[in-house]
């Protein structure tokens, strides 16, 4: 054991002995006999513990994901057992960080496969040539609406809709009708009721901004999305940095919240999460999602084999696994998203409480990346300055 050797050496090292004369040792409590030596020993032990050599065999597949990636231990273990692969998961903070760091390290990628890029970031990655094409046989059963890259460089895995969520009790108590369109939100009866996220720092916030751009248009002389946002601001909308602050500090419908806004931008699956994570359990959902036409923005998440991956075959197997029934059926309760394979059954709590909008807002992926900067700065000028 080299570790023991090092420790042994340090114990008897004259460098350290110099620091600990019997002088000091006798005067003080034995635990503190030689702090310097103990510190150095601790340091060495910690480093030896932390820097374990990672084997880069072909048997290992390194998967780079954002921090929300989740799967059942059992499902993943079963895949490892069946395939003989070892899955190593590397996490980065959010989708933006994940995609950008992957582009920066394209020549020498962090892993073999990337999971978690969505349609708002897709063009950037495709233009940077981040992925190598792989057409999984399982794509045949995927809803074709999700196949956004004709060259199959990325594979759709799940989708979710960013929709308005409402505090059911508030609307019942005040006998107020639910808004049925984005335009409704600027009406006086909904003044001071809505919380949204900053599109520059939040993914649902960006989805909501994109929805307003699709609905109200960009260069409409009469009334474009910036006019709409001016009206929303006048109607006392509150803008938060991230989803967490909007949902837990401003929204009144979330359990135990001190917020006073009965409307918030969240996901169509959030009400089912409220029921699933309710504690104590509840019979009815305290919140609901509005899925009226042209109010929800659809986000699709993809995975892809990274260009220059050291184990592309393993990466491809992992993508097949992401489209397997086992993973697709596991996803809803692990990440609160919907499977892209329509035949996969949904868990009860989803079937009952999560709504799927009939006509969600879709935006061509190329338009998103081409205009993102300009839209965001125009929005910032209008909404914040």
């Amino acid at each position: 054991m080299p570790a023991e050797g090092v420790l042994d050496f340090l114990h008897h090292s004259p460098i350290l002995r110099g620091f600990c004369s019997p002088h000091v040792a006798q005067r003080h409590n034995p635990m503190m006999r030689c702090p310097v030596k103990q510190l150095v020993l601790l340091l060495v032990i910690s480093i030896l513990c932390v820097v374990r050599p990672t084997s880069a065999q072909t048997q290992t597949v390194r998967v780079v994901v954002h921090d929300s990636f989740n799967v059942s231990e059992a499902v993943l273990a079963q895949f490892e057992a069946d395939s003989g692969l070892i899955i190593e998961i590397l996490r980065l903070g959010d989708t933006g960080i994940l995609v950008n760091q992957s582009i920066l390290s394209r020549e020498n990628p962090l892993g073999d496969v990337l999971y978690g890029i969505d349609n708002t970031f897709l063009t950037r990655a495709l233009e940077a040539d981040l992925f190598m094409p792989y057409e999984s046989p399982a794509l045949a059963v995927v809803d074709p609406a999700f196949l956004l890259d004709p060259e199959a460089r990325v594979t759709p895995i799940n989708y979710g809709d960013v929709c308005l969520n409402v505090d059911v009790a508030y609307f019942e108590e005040n006998d107020l009708a639910l808004p049925q369109s984005l335009a409704d939100l600027s009406a006086p009866e909904y003044a001071g009721l809505l919380a949204v996220q900053n599109p520059a720092t939040s993914s649902p916030g960006l989805a909501f901004l994109l929805a307003t751009i699709v609905v109200f248009g960009e260069e409409d002389d009469d009334y474009d999305y910036l006019d709409y946002w001016t009206d929303l601001i006048a109607n006392d909308v509150i803008i938060t940095d991230d989803w967490t602050t909007a949902y837990y500090s401003e929204f009144s419908g979330s359990a135990g919240s001190e917020g006073d806004r009965p409307l918030v931008v969240s996901y169509a699956s959030s009400p089912s999460a409220e029921v699933f994570f309710a504690d104590p359990p509840v019979e009815t959902a305290p919140t609901s999602a509005i899925v009226a036409p042209d109010t929800c923005f659809r986000q699709v998440e993809f995975a892809g084999v990274l260009a220059n991956a050291s184990n592309p075959e393993g990466a491809q197997q992992f993508i097949d696994f992401l489209l397997s029934d086992a993973f697709q059926a596991d996803m809803p309760l692990q990440m609160f998203v919907f499977p892209v394979i329509p035949t996969v059954p949904l868990p009860d709590v989803f079937a009952e409480y999560a709504a799927i909008p009939d006509s969600p807002i879709l935006m061509p992926i190329a338009a998103i990346d081409a205009n993102r900067e300009q839209w965001l700065s125009a929005w910032t000028e209008t909404a914040l300055r």
């Binding site: 480093i47 921090d67 520059a200 602050t245």
Partner: protein
């Protein structure tokens, strides 16, 4: 004859000085190497990739910067809020430090130990605490409204600059307090007494005697607090709302959302350049001040007169109000969340994994991860910090002056810049560390290092050289001088530095977001994940985990401060 002797002495002195200079350079090598590998190299590589992707300088960032008034506004807001926060923090911390350095009272040590707790709390949790306390529907407003039967909430602080400032004072008060108290404690009160004897008192005593004596540590504290607020991210975003943006926020937006690396790098350079200038001024300022310290600790007595008692009591009240009521609000909510009276339900849920998720982290594992990272960080930061302090002890020219400034730069460099830098730079053997978890404590050490150095250096500089000279002329080896004379004298500063390093690491989680790492979630990461999903049990568990974080840190702080036995008396 006399002249020749003098001449000889000069040569000897000169030789000794060059030898000392060489020794100092040697000491500086280790921290320099560390900073070069884990800060300069990655950041410079990233700047090169961003600003000159094809070998040609991309000036688009600079153009944007000067073309739009927005950036001028962002820059002046960043500066202004940091300056205001620093001034407010010092205004509150200096009188408190005076009280701590002069009088003995019950619970003092505990109060001082626990004053660092705010430092470890994630901003999201602090936001919950503040809105529960002074938000529109918070406790204070409820109380005021029922007391004076008001219909409107009298305190309207949500999304104001005032709230940002309060939060910054909440986070940084203890930084200034600990730094100044530690230094003040080491000062003999003979100077004060002599001055008083000669008729100086009140403000005169303060301005002419106390302030000059304390100036090195006050400027050091101001510098640290300013830099912390200058790069404030979460506090400004969450407390200030969306109208305010700091340079740090803008770098994050440009780099992650827009992938505009030239602009992000330019902004990052502006941030670093500004700090560089600030450090130059600071170093110049510091050079004038050398106050000699005595090895004895100043004698403390109990407050006797009414005025003294009022001073002590109001300091305690201030600290409890400022630091502990927000913490108490978090704790209270964790135990009463769900409107079912006092409950331990969410603490229990923390240990269960009903969905069998890979994301599940047993609380003990999270605590273990946090403590391991904090331990490694503390050891690295203390080791490198002491070496740096010794290297920086004398005059600072050339390489050494550079080290002093370099040490501070990671504190003001955006986490995005460092994280992206690691990805582009540390990707090949022997430094293929991009995906190693050792990068997390290393990144923490970069942030913690300035705290150790700024705590140790003033104490080290204040040791009269005659102490060491005397010992050496009696035959003590340099190592013995360090161990037997200097270490005991700087121990208090060292300990405060170590405590800071520990708490910085316990609370930090920016590094984890920007470093691709195998799953080793710390307590703040677990809180962040729980708050990322809807549902009562997630929120309740986030509160419960916050309480565990507070408890673990409180216990650690108490243990660390108990651990000091050598050469210190009661503080």
């Amino acid at each position: 004859m006399a002249q020749r002797v003098d001449g000889n002495r000069i040569t000897v002195n000169h030789r000794a000085q060059t030898a000392q200079g060489r020794a100092r350079l040697l000491l500086a090598l280790v921290p320099l190497l560390f900073l070069s590998l884990f800060f300069v190299y990655p950041v410079v590589t990233l700047f090169a990739v961003s600003l000159a992707p094809n070998g040609v300088f991309d000036s688009s960032g600079l153009v944007t910067l000067f073309a739009s008034r927005t950036y001028l506004q962002i820059f002046s807001f960043t500066f202004m809020q940091a300056a205001l926060s620093t001034a407010l923090t010092l205004l509150l911390a200096i009188p408190s430090a005076y009280v701590f350095a002069h009088w003995q009272f019950r619970g003092k040590k505990l109060l001082l130990s626990l004053s660092l707790l705010p430092f470890v709390l994630p901003t999201t949790v602090v936001a919950v605490a503040f809105s529960g306390l002074i938000g529109e529907r918070g406790l204070v407003n409820d109380l005021l409204m029922s007391m004076f039967s008001l219909t409107e909430a009298p305190l309207q602080l949500d999304h104001t600059l005032t709230l940002v400032l309060i939060a910054h004072v909440f986070y940084n008060y203890s930084v200034a307090l600990r730094l100044i108290t530690g230094f003040w404690m080491n000062q003999s009160n003979h100077i004060e007494e002599s001055a008083a004897l000669l008729g100086a008192h009140g403000w005169g005593l303060w301005w002419q005697i106390q302030f000059p004596l304390l100036r090195p540590v006050i400027t050091a504290a101001a510098l640290l607090v300013f830099m912390f607020c200058f790069t404030s991210f979460g506090v400004v975003l969450i407390m200030g709302g969306q109208r305010f943006a700091t340079i740090e926020v803008e770098i994050y937006r440009q780099a992650t959302s827009l992938f505009n690396l030239p602009l992000a790098a330019t902004l990052s350079l502006v941030q670093i350049g500004f700090t560089f200038i600030l450090m130059l001024i600071y170093t110049r300022f510091q050079r004038q001040v050398i106050v000699e310290l005595r090895s004895t600790t100043r004698p403390l007595r109990s407050a006797t007169s009414l005025r003294e008692k009022i001073a002590v009591v109001s300091t305690i009240v201030l600290m409890i109000t400022l630091l502990f009521t927000p913490l108490a609000t978090v704790i209270l909510r964790a135990f009463t969340y769900g409107n079912e009276g006092v409950t331990l339900r969410y603490f229990g849920l923390l240990g269960t994994n009903p969905r069998g998720s890979v994301l599940f982290t047993p609380p003990l594992v999270a605590i273990g991860n946090s403590l391991s990272f904090a331990l490694v960080t503390t050891i690295l930061a203390v080791g490198l910090g002491v070496l740096s302090a010794y290297a920086l002890r004398g005059s600072k020219r050339g390489l050494l002056g550079g080290l002093d400034i370099l040490l501070m730069l990671p504190l003001v460099t955006s986490a995005v810049t460092i994280g992206f830098g690691y990805v582009v730079a540390l990707d090949e053997p022997p430094l293929n560390l991009r995906t190693s978890i050792i990068l997390i404590p290393i990144a923490h050490t970069l942030i913690a290092l300035p705290f150790v150095v700024r705590n140790v250096l003033p104490a080290l500089r204040a040791i009269p050289p005659s102490f060491g000279d005397a010992a050496q002329s009696l035959g003590a080896s340099p190592l013995r001088v360090v161990r037997l004379i200097e270490l005991p004298l700087i121990l208090r500063g060292l300990l405060v530095g170590a405590v800071f390093a520990f708490t910085v690491s316990m609370g930090e989680f920016g590094a984890s977001l920007f470093i691709a790492r195998p799953d080793t979630p710390t307590m703040p990461i677990v809180i962040y994940r729980l708050l990322g999903q809807p549902g009562a049990s997630n929120y309740g568990q986030a509160l419960a985990m916050s309480v565990l974080l507070i408890i673990v840190c409180a216990l650690s702080l108490i243990v660390i401060e108990r651990g000091r036995t050598i050469g210190t008396s009661e503080l």
